[in-house]
Amino acid sequence: MDVLLNNLDIFVVGFRTTLVLFVWSALFSTVLGLIVGMMRVSPVPVMRGFGTFYVNLVRNTPLTLIFFFFAFGYPKLGLPEFSYTWLAIIALSLYTATYIAEVLRSGFNTVPLGQAEAARAIGLSFVPTMTRVVMPQAFRAVIPPFMSVLIALLKNTTIAAGFSVHEAGAIRAYASERGEPAMIVLLWVAFFFIVLVMILAYIQRRLEKRWKVAR
C-alpha cells in the first residue's frame, strides 16, 4: 500500500493520461469506424473499395509501427504539429477504427436484408436506411464485440509509454527512478486496469439490457 500512497502523484498523472488517450481515441475511432463500416456496405463500388483498402492496410499493420510513424515520420512531413499525446490519440484512433468498422459491419449483416430493401423501397436513401432502420437493429448484436474492442483499446494505450507519453504504462519506469520495487508497482497498475475494464464490462451489461427491452 505504501508503494501506492507514496507515489500517488505518478499514479494519478499516469492514469489520467491513460483516460485522456482512451476517451478521445474511443470517440474518434467510433466515428471513423462508423464511416468506414458504412462505406464497406455502400452500394457505390468506389466507397466499398476505399473502405476495404483502409481496413486491410491499417488493420494489418502492427500498432507499434503506426506509433513509430506518428512519433518519427509525421513530424517531418511539415504538417500541423501536435503533442505526443495527440499523436498517440491519432495513431490509436486510426488503428482501432478498423476493428470497429468490422464489428459494425458484422452487426449490419445480422439484420435481415429485407429490412434494408423495405427501407429503400419507400424511398429512403443509403444513409437514412442505415441510421433509421439497419443500425438500431444491429446495435444489440454489436455491443459485446464493440466493448471487447474498447477494452483492447484501453490496454493498447500503454504502447504510448514507449513514445514519451506519460500514461499508466510508464508508471513503472517513473516509480523505479524513486527506487520502488517494480513488481509491486506493476501489480498496482494491473489492478487499476482491471478496475477500469470492469467499469466497461458494467456499461456493456447495462447497454445490452437496455437494447433487449427495445425489441
Binding site: P112, E117, A118, A121, G123, L124, V133, R215
Partner: protein, 274 residues
C-alpha cells in the same frame, strides 16, 4: 406534398377510398406508366430474364404468374431496381430508372412495394412503420403523417394495432400494414411480390380483399402471385412467365379458359390436379 395539394388531400374521396393515386381519373386514360424494354438479367451464368418487354398502363392491374424459378419475382424487383439489370431499360412515368443515389430514392418513393416476407421494420411500432416514409422522405409533419397513417391502417383493418410492434401481429395483419406503409407514400404504381405466399391459408383472403379493393379504385398494380382467384377477379391482364421469358399475355378469362402456349397449358393443368 406541396401546400396547394393540402386542400383536396384529406377526405375528399370519402372513407371507402384509399386516397392513393394523385389523379384517379387518369386510371381510365391508359397511358403507359411502366415500360420494360428488352431487359436481360443474369445471375452469373444463369439467364434469369430473357428479352423481357412489358408495358403497364395507368390504372391497369397486371398479374404475373408462372412456375417458381421462372423469373417473375426478379422481374417485379427490377421495376424499382432492387435488382439491377444487365441490358435493356425500364422507364417509370417517362423517366428512365436512375443508377443509384438520390434520384433512385426519389423514384422508389413513387413506387410502392409489398414483399412476400412483409419486411415491417422490426424495431418500430406499426404506426411508425407507416409514418417513416412520409416524414423522412416527403417531409410531412409528424402529426399530419400520423393522422394519415391511422386512417390508412383503419382502412386495411388494423387500426387498433397501431401502437403494437410488428412481431405481435399475425402474418395477415403484418402484410396489410405493409400495404398501408406503401400506400402512405401515395405511389404511382404498386408492386406486389408474392404477397400471400408466406401466409397461412385463412389469412390469404384478408390480404387479397384489400388488394381487390385497391384495384377497383384504379391503382396501377403489378402483382406476382399464385392466387388464380385473384387473377380472375382483379386482373386486367395476365402475364405468364416460364424460364425467364414472357410466354403469353392475355386477358384473364382468355388465358384461363383458352391458353395458347403449351407451357401455359401444362402449368394450368398442374394447378387443377389437386
Amino acid at each position: 406534398m406541396e401546400s396547394n395539394d393540402q386542400g383536396d388531400s384529406a377526405d375528399k374521396r370519402g372513407p371507402a377510398s384509399f386516397e392513393t393515386t394523385s389523379n384517379p381519373i387518369a386510371a381510365a386514360t391508359g397511358e403507359p406508366l411502366v415500360i420494360v424494354e428488352d431487359v436481360e438479367k443474369y445471375y452469373g451464368d444463369f439467364h434469369a430474364l430473357k428479352n423481357i418487354n412489358l408495358t403497364v398502363n395507368k390504372g391497369e392491374v397486371v398479374v404475373v404468374i408462372g412456375p417458381s424459378g421462372s423469373g417473375k419475382s426478379t422481374l417485379c424487383r427490377t421495376i424499382n431496381r432492387l435488382e439491377t439489370i444487365n441490358a435493356g431499360q425500364i422507364r417509370i412515368d417517362g423517366k428512365k430508372l436512375p443508377e443509384e443515389g438520390k434520384a433512385l430514392a426519389a423514384l422508389r418513393a413513387d413506387v410502392g412495394m409489398v414483399f412476400q416476407s412483409f419486411n415491417l421494420f422490426a424495431h418500430k411500432t406499426i404506426l411508425e412503420n407507416v409514418t417513416l416514409g412520409p416524414t423522412r422522405v416527403r417531409g410531412q409533419k409528424r402529426a399530419e403523417a400520423e393522422e394519415a397513417a391511422r386512417a390508412l391502417l383503419e382502412r386495411v383493418g388494423v387500426g387498433v394495432q397501431a401502437d403494437k410492434m410488428p412481431a405481435q401481429l399475425s402474418g395477415g395483419q403484418q402484410q396489410r400494414v405493409a400495404i398501408a406503409r406503401a400506400l402512405a407514400m401515395k405511389p404511382k404504381v404498386m408492386l406486389f411480390d408474392e404477397p400471400t405466399s408466406a401466409l397461412d391459408p385463412e389469412m390469404i383472403n384478408e390480404v387479397l380483399d384489400v388488394m381487390v379493393q385497391l384495384a377497383s379504385e384504379g391503382m396501377t398494380m403489378v402483382v406476382v402471385t399464385h392466387e388464380m382467384g385473384f387473377a380472375r377477379k382483379a386482373a386486367d391482364r395476365v402475364v405468364f412467365m416460364s424460364e425467364g421469358e414472357i410466354v403469353e399475355e392475355a386477358e384473364p378469362e382468355e388465358f384461363f379458359t383458352n391458353p395458347k402456349s403449351d407451357r401455359a397449358k401444362d402449368f394450368l393443368s398442374k394447378l387443377l390436379t389437386h
